[in-house]
């Protein structure tokens, strides 16, 4: 057995590029529960099969499950993986084990969530979440027109720990809408009177509903609702409906999951910024392939410290100056 293995390893170095079936790679996601990561896994698995790479997949048990991810990276190092695609569940805590992996010769690519510092990984393939927020903010401002000056805004965020995705989307939205965001990494430090308040949803429908109800109690005249993701948006819509206010309130969101895109078509959500987990995954696999073949590492997008996998605004009521796709077109690109 041992001889067999070492022989193939030698063969690999000699005929690099021809024997991809012997190239091991890993995909480590935050959880197996979020459709975003489920889709990412599907994309990676498909791309790996095509490229002839052996892909092992791992996932944390819950968001923030550092231990499981650390163990997964260690397993990957031990199995001699050439590349590791990871969505770090904690931007800082995973840095040491990631440097070990790089020392062991693996190409490490952060997907979706950057490390801190970003260059802890060889590359980062992610959505520009701030940009995603800006798009829906601009769209909302243009849609409301003059009414935007006295909008009443509810912000439905993720959770109390204010992770990067949370503040980037939230503050991107506010900036796009034309509000001074002060500290770009802090949620809730704004003093614009148009903001009614923030509440957390845990990114789920039940959380979205309760948070919306709470904010409606603070101010029943809310007419613009930002939501961290589409399940939270669906919950917020239910709350508005139960208050008899589903008409005339604009809901915007970020994600681009298929149920969310359908909700655009049904008029539940006004606009959403779609991100591309499949693309992150397939680009990641591609990069590993290139790395094994040529030793070349992927480059960042211009002006960013990561490779931007793109955002598209999806809405059925497009506005001037903000390019968008219809929900019908969006359904062809949506994930999950």
């Amino acid at each position: 057995m041992k001889t067999l293995l070492s022989t193939s390893a030698v063969a690999l170095t000699v005929t690099a590029g021809a024997a991809f079936a012997d190239t091991n790679a890993c995909l480590i996601t935050k959880t197996d529960t979020n459709p975003f990561f489920v889709k990412m896994k599907e994309g990676a698995t498909a791309a790996a099969a095509e490229a002839g790479i052996n892909l092992s997949t791992f996932a944390g048990k819950y968001d923030g499950d550092v231990e499981t991810q650390v163990a997964a990276v260690e397993t990957c190092i031990a199995s001699g993986a050439k590349g590791i695609l990871i969505t770090p569940t904690d931007s800082r805590a995973l840095v040491p084990v990631i440097s070990q992996a790089r020392d062991a010769g693996a190409l490490v690519i952060a997907l979706d969530t950057p490390f801190e510092p970003t260059d802890a990984a060889d590359a980062t393939f992610a959505t520009d979440n701030f940009k995603a927020g800006v798009l829906i903010g601009e769209w909302a401002k243009a849609t409301m027109g003059e009414a935007a000056a006295d909008a009443k805004i509810a912000l439905l965020d993720l959770n109390a720990s204010e992770v990067s995705v949370d503040y980037q989307r939230n503050n991107g939205f506010l900036q796009g809408f034309g509000i001074d965001i002060k500290d770009p990494t802090d949620i809730g430090d704004e003093d614009d009177p148009r903001i009614v308040g923030n509440d957390v949803t845990n990114g789920s429908s039940d959380g979205g509903r309760t948070a919306m109800e709470n904010l409606l109690q603070v101010d029943p005249d809310i007419n613009l609702v930002y939501t961290i993701n589409e399940p939270a948006a669906a919950g917020a819509y239910e709350a508005l409906k139960s208050f008899g206010k589903e008409e005339g309130v604009l809901i915007v969101s970020v994600d681009g999951g298929c149920p969310g895109v359908k909700d655009i078509g049904a008029g539940v959500i006004g606009a959403t910024s779609m991100q591309f987990p499949l693309l992150m995954a397939s680009k990641g696999i591609e990069a590993i392939k290139t790395f094994v073949e040529t030793g070349e590492k992927p480059q960042n997008s211009e002006g960013l410290d990561f490779f931007n996998t793109g955002v598209e605004l999806i809405t059925d009521t497009p506005v001037d100056g903000v390019p968008s796709l219809s929900s019908e077109d969006g359904l062809k690109k949506c994930w999950g």
């Binding site: 529960t33 979020n34 959380g207 399940p231 669906a234 139960s242 539940v268």
Partner: protein
């Protein structure tokens, strides 16, 4: 004791001496002397008193701080509505905690069964009533599975439900593909699934059927626990399982029924949650297990079993809801809401320990 101790050394004489002493063996006098002890006794006999007082106090305090926005019929009915699902889970959880067990799988059973009902009724065209029936039966089955491991394989409830939590959660992700069923699809194909989302207005209050369901579940359990032999057995088992067994209770059978019933209540909660959330999302109520335990503990039900009234859990759930709403309307950051709930739990358990010391 000391006077007897000295005469005992003399020999058998003490027996005679004692013949003259008081023959009534049980003079059940309660010697509650200090007012402190008296309070302790009152609380001991009425375990729901603490949560009721806390609930009333918090209503008054938040009414003063947050004003009319908080203390309106509408907001209070909204709180009732917001706690209804966790309240139903807390009812199931209390039942199990009274037997000195714990169920970490309640929320997983609930969401799993809502997904089962949704998949059947929305996507597979099964008549809604049949889908509901399958979901309820599934809930009972899931509960009995927990009960079976606990009574037959003798696994501790914590371990068993820690395991089944993962198992049910995995099944739920598999069945749903980690994907929500949209509210609009439910409206078109199986609107009856949202039955408990219906509401009606009384005065300024909006009462949803899910809130009524929660209250009915609590009343029914209160009756069963306090007015039937089964309920007395549930308490006896939680108090001292061995003693219950020796005094003729078929403890395993009773425990099995408790877990089965809890599973049923969870499935019922699953149905109600569809109305409340409006869609069926596998990600919802991920913290439902802990939220339900929080409600139970704040409600003064002892985690050591055998003590506390089921109604406490209802008040516990309401207290959490009142705190969340009150702090929110007072403009307090989410962080400090979490902080406050944490203190509530600690204080509730401390009070429970203090009350238990009454027997010493």
């Amino acid at each position: 004791m000391s006077e007897n101790g000295s005469s005992a050394s003399v020999g058998q004489d003490f027996e005679k001496k004692l013949d003259e002493s008081d023959k009534s063996i049980a003079s059940f006098n309660v010697k509650a002397t200090s007012p402190f002890e008296r309070i302790q006794h009152v609380l001991h006999n009425n375990p729901t008193l603490v949560p009721v007082i806390v609930l009333m106090l918090s209503l008054v305090v938040f009414g003063l701080i947050a004003g009319g926005k908080f203390f309106s019929a509408f907001n209070l009915s909204l709180i009732l509505q917001q706690v209804s699902i966790i309240g139903i889970l807390a009812a199931a959880q209390s039942l199990i905690i009274i037997t000195a067990g714990i169920d970490l799988s309640v929320a997983a059973i609930m969401v799993l069964m809502s997904v089962v009902m949704g998949n059947l009724a929305v996507f597979m065209g099964v008549p809604t009533v049949l889908a509901l029936f399958v979901g309820m039966a599934g809930g009972v089955g899931a509960g009995l599975m927990n009960g079976w491991f606990i009574t037959r394989i003798k696994l501790p409830p914590f371990i068993t439900t820690l395991g089944t939590w993962s198992i049910f959660y995995a099944l739920l992700l598999w069945l749903s593909g980690a994907q929500s069923i949209r509210g609009q699809d439910i409206d078109t194909n199986a609107p009856f699934l949202k039955f408990f989302g219906e509401s009606f207005n009384i005065g300024g209050a909006r009462i949803t059927l899910s809130a009524i369901l929660m209250i009915l579940v609590f009343l029914a359990l209160w009756y069963m626990l306090n007015k039937t032999a089964w309920g007395r057995h549930v308490y006896a088992i939680g108090d001292d399982k061995e003693a219950a067994e020796l005094s003729g209770i078929r403890t395993d059978r009773t425990l099995l029924s408790v877990y089965g019933l809890a599973g049923f209540i969870c499935a019922l909660g699953g149905w109600a949650s569809i109305g409340r959330v409006g869609s069926i999302s596998p990600q919802s109520f991920y913290e439902g297990n802990l939220d339900s335990i929080t409600a139970v503990v704040i409600g003064g039900i002892s985690l050591f079993g055998g003590r506390g009234s089921i109604m406490g859990a209802l008040f516990g759930a309401l207290i959490v809801g009142v705190f969340r709403s009150g702090l929110r309307l007072s403009g307090v950051d989410v962080l400090w809401q979490v902080f406050a709930i944490g203190w509530l739990i600690i204080i509730a358990v401390a009070i429970d320990q203090w009350i238990r010391r009454v027997s010493a």
